[in-house]
């Protein structure tokens, strides 16, 4: 059985993928998948840092109800 060349892209972007991506090379498909994975990771780190910084600016009376948001 042929390996699924689009597996990594599908895992990042979801299924079904738009048509035409199977014309890309292995390296290009890997890059396309890793571009979104990197963006997610960078966003996650940036949001963590922003939340910490935001909380540090809040008066403690406000910080508690903000932290309690589910």
């Amino acid at each position: 059985m042929a390996p699924d060349r689009l597996h990594a892209v599908r895992a990042q972007y979801g299924d079904p993928l738009p048509e035409g991506l199977d014309a890309l090379s292995e390296d290009e498909l890997a890059d396309l998948a890793s571009a979104l994975a990197e963006a997610r990771e960078e966003q996650s780190v940036a949001v963590d840092a922003a939340i910490d910084q935001a909380l540090s600016h809040l008066p403690w009376l406000v910080r508690r109800p903000v932290r309690m948001i589910p």
Partner: protein, 151 residues
């Protein structure tokens, strides 16, 4: 490569915060396919991170002036991801307390499909200034879409 295809590659690169040259190989793929990739990436980056919804809720608690300052100084461009999850009145209250240059930066990052109501609830003078600062493709697209909807 068509102009349309190139624009779609630029949009995907902007969304993924990457250099457009990285995706030169996509210029051989149809513009529709690249646009679909951008839509999927938008869903992954905006909708699958539940923290944005919590931040939008939390933004209701502190006074608007403080929230606007924190948004600008702690969240920066991430505000564009949160804006669409906020109720319109609160988002406008915060935006009117932010500098136009900051709003212009956000305008470029905003997904107009998600933030349309907020964009058009902004005072006209502020919206126009932000648009002209940013030459924002997002706001321009929203304006076009609104114009065509109303005609």
């Amino acid at each position: 490569m068509t102009l349309e295809g190139h624009a779609e590659v630029l949009e995907l690169a902007r969304l993924l915060d990457a250099e457009p040259e990285r995706f030169a190989y996509l210029e051989g793929v149809s513009p529709d396919a690249v646009r679909e990739l951008s839509k999927r990436a938008t869903v992954v980056l905006y909708d699958r991170d539940r923290r944005f919804g919590r931040i939008a809720l939390a933004s209701r608690i502190p006074p608007a002036q403080l929230t606007a300052w924190i948004a600008q100084h702690a969240f920066g461009r991430l505000c564009a991801r949160i804006t669409a999850l906020m109720d319109t009145d609160r988002a406008v209250a915060l935006a009117t307390r932010m500098p136009t240059t900051f709003l212009a930066d956000l305008a470029v990052q905003l997904d107009p499909r998600r933030a349309r109501d907020i964009i058009f609830a902004l005072p006209r003078k502020q919206r126009n200034r932000a648009t002209s600062c940013a030459h924002g493709p997002s706001l321009a697209a929203a304006s076009r879409s609104r114009s065509s909807a109303s005609s």
